[in-house]
């Protein structure tokens, strides 16, 4: 039986990890719930952002957080371009399925190019404060993990407010559901859909940088992320941002706690067990997602 201090330590780690999962899953939810696009390449972009942060740091020594100034707009533009140049050209009838394949191909391409540019070696940013930490009620919290969590929380909050309470959010949803009708209401659908996608990728930029602060990266790492993230959005109910956030926190915490008793590998299966359980017993997901069966 693990000691209470270890359990508490695990919970703290679980929360910190869950925060990052939540941000990333929120991006996926955005494409998925709102735009009907299964964005397999999300985690590839995540790794790309991490690589950019790492590269900038290695070359110039600037703090990875500063690279956000460049990567967020860059990813936003890339997202707009991807939506405008690629995704709009898919047949609406088969959008969901074909977008899986298209974004899959983007993921492969990114992985290949990263491997080409930086080789398959694992990389890690060397920060002055990477091994710093402080005590919190008997648990130790690494500074980098806390920073990553803070970034994730801020980005997530911003995303939520934007989607729920702005004209943009509404226009975006309208655009995706009935493009012609939205146009007729005066919505610039091309621009809005592009922005929506850009926004999703921008979250990948934030997430990737947060990720790069404290873990190793390598080109094929994105496969390692896409599984848990996909599981999270299904458990959370496709299309529900709060659902995804709650599922991310819960599963992140569970994973962390399970690691006390099981090996890390077995602990990771919690995501998939949750996924299969959800589909077998409650296909619409556990939180929200009323129209999930339509996907």
């Amino acid at each position: 039986m693990p000691s209470t201090s270890l359990i508490f330590q695990s919970i703290v780690l679980g929360v910190l990890l869950g925060g990052l999962y939540a941000l990333l899953a929120a991006g996926l939810t955005l494409y998925f719930g709102v735009m009907r696009v299964v964005m397999i390449a999300h985690s590839a972009f995540l790794i790309l952002a991490a690589y950019l942060a790492w590269y900038a740091h290695r070359e110039t020594g600037i703090d990875p957080l500063l690279t956000l100034v460049a990567t967020v707009p860059l990813f936003f533009v890339a997202g707009v371009a991807m939506q405008r140049l690629l995704l709009t050209r898919l047949r609406p009838a088969t959008l969901t399925m074909m977008s899986v394949l298209l974004t899959f191909s983007v993921a492969l391409t990114i992985e290949g190019l990263l491997g080409y540019a930086f080789s398959g070696t694992q990389r890690r940013i060397r920060l002055g404060y990477s091994s710093a930490g402080f005590e919190f009620l008997g648990a130790r919290i690494a500074a980098v993990k806390l920073i990553a969590f803070g970034m994730a929380a801020l980005a997530l909050l911003g995303l939520y407010v934007l989607m729920k309470h702005s004209r943009f959010g509404q226009a975006l949803r309208a655009t995706i559901q009935q493009r012609e009708a939205a146009q007729l209401l005066g919505i610039d659908t091309d621009r809005i859909a592009g922005y929506g996608f850009g926004l999703g990728l921008a979250t990948a930029a934030v997430g990737g940088t947060a990720l790069a602060l404290d873990t190793t990266i390598y080109p094929s790492l994105h496969w390692h992320w896409i599984g848990p993230l996909m599981a999270i959005i299904v458990v959370g109910g496709l299309g529900s941002v709060p659902g995804a956030a709650i599922a991310a926190m819960t599963l992140g915490m569970l994973q962390s706690l399970l690691q006390l008793e099981l090996s890390t590998t077995w602990a990771q299966t919690v995501f998939y067990v949750a996924l299969f359980a959800t589909l077998a017993f409650r296909p619409q997901g556990f939180f929200g997602g009323r129209l999930a069966q339509r996907f």
């Binding site: 998925f32 009907r36 299964v38 397999i40 690629l86 050209r89 898919l90 047949r91 609406p92 088969t94 969901t96 399925m97 074909m98 899986v100 394949l101 298209l102 899959f104 191909s105 983007v106 993921a107 492969l108 391409t109 990114i110 992985e111 290949g112 190019l113 491997g115 080409y116 398959g120 493009r179 012609e180 146009q183 080109p219 496969w223 896409i226 599984g227 996909m230 599981a231 959005i233 299904v234 496709l238 090996s263 590998t265 077995w266 990771q268 299966t269 995501f271 998939y272 067990v273 996924l275 299969f276 589909l279 077998a280 296909p283 999930a292 069966q293 339509r294 996907f295």
Partner: protein, 370 residues
């Protein structure tokens, strides 16, 4: 094809085209079967086996992907299960190799039932996610459960024909793979022209509608999913017997599932030979890119771009694209049949049908955009 046969006008042309078809088929089979004896070294045979393996895998994938339109990115899981199942049955249960192959396939089929049950209840995106999850979870399990599966140390499957020369071993397996491909293609063909196949295609188009016409959609989907899993696992098991070394990382890889999709889609998922053609192209392209860009990860980029191009520009595959191109060169016989009939019809019905021709001619332009 079939629809053409009902038109008396085209009966003559049809008979020659059937002959051509059968001739081409026989020629293809002959070339395929004589390949091992023409190959300059065992190495070429192994390349042939690899391509045949791809062809079996993508044809197997196409049972689900082609008929029902459900895209599974995780079919590699079934190949991996077939391979490991065969290997474990040989090493742990000491079954004879080929008995192990079929027992493993039966086990995978049994496993495909609950998996299909969870995955096929949900449509579209969720299915893809489940399929991806399946590979990833199996990778974790086979890596972690080292005491049983050998974990990342891998599993060595003993040779089915001990003492056989290596080149002879390759030759034998070449024919075994070819036979498996033949059976898979035959099964696909039988389903394709059957009422069962028609029901599956209806499911691909509109599930509710198919159901309201009396198609038991869930049972149909499940059956074809299990058939697909079984063939995939046979391919995996045969591979295990041929290759001998299994490693979870390579057996349960998303990439292998992606290649199946790519090959099937490239060739054309609605066609019997689509996946086979795709396997030839992709298998060759992989070999080529390895030779040309051997020391870079650009083969991923090649695969990625190829998939992207296929999805964007020929979502129906090479075969339909080529057929369409051919049709353009032919006389406009086909369209005129329709128009003549339409004109006759106008006469018969007198009114109300004045617009038929234009309706037939227009097709794909999507209504949006300014």
């Amino acid at each position: 094809m079939r629809k053409g046969s009902e038109l008396p006008l085209r009966a003559g042309r049809l008979r020659t085209s059937t002959l051509l078809h059968v001739g081409a088929l026989l020629a293809g089979v002959a070339v395929a079967l004589s390949f091992p004896s023409m190959a300059p070294s065992p190495y070429e045979i192994t390349v042939g086996i690899a391509i045949l393996n791809y062809a079996v895998l993508s044809t197997s994938w196409n049972f689900v992907g082609g008929f029902t339109g459900y895209i599974s990115l995780g079919h590699g899981a079934f190949a991996g299960l077939g391979a490991y199942g065969t290997g474990l049955l040989v090493t742990k249960a000491e079954l004879p190799p080929f008995a192990a192959l079929f027992v493993a396939a039966a086990l995978v089929a049994a496993l495909a039932v609950p998996v299909g049950y969870a995955a096929l209840r949900v449509r579209g995106a969720s299915f893809v996610i489940v399929s991806i999850a399946l590979v990833l979870i199996l990778l974790l399990v086979f890596q972690s459960w080292a005491s049983f599966t050998g974990g990342s140390r891998g599993l060595v499957v003993p040779r089915p024909f001990p003492g056989m020369l290596r080149s002879e071993h390759h030759r034998t397996f070449y024919f075994l793979f070819a036979a498996l491909l033949g059976v898979a293609l035959l099964t696909w063909w039988i389903i394709d022209r059957s009422r069962f196949g028609m029901g599956l295609k209806a499911i691909r188009e509109d599930e509710d509608k198919a159901q309201s016409l009396g198609t038991p959609i869930f049972a149909y989907k499940l059956v074809v999913f299990v058939v697909s899993a079984t063939f995939t696992s046979l391919a995996g098991g045969l591979y295990a017997l041929w290759f001998g070394d299994l490693d979870p990382v390579f057996q349960f890889s998303i990439l292998s599932g992606a290649y199946m999709v790519l090959m099937a889609l490239l060739g054309g998922v609605r066609h019997l030979y689509g996946p086979l053609l795709g396997a030839l192209i992709v298998g060759y392209a992989l070999e080529y890119s390895k030779v040309e860009y051997g020391d870079t990860p650009l083969h991923l980029v090649v695969a990625g771009l190829l998939l992207g191009v296929v999805v964007m520009f020929m979502p129906d595959g090479v075969i339909p694209a080529a057929t369409a191109l051919l049709a353009r060169f032919r006389t406009s016989g086909e369209t005129s049949i329709r128009e003549v009939t339409a004109a006759e019809l106008k006469e018969r019905h007198g009114q109300g049908n004045g617009t038929d021709e234009s309706e037939v001619r227009n097709s794909e332009r999507s209504g949006s955009g300014g």
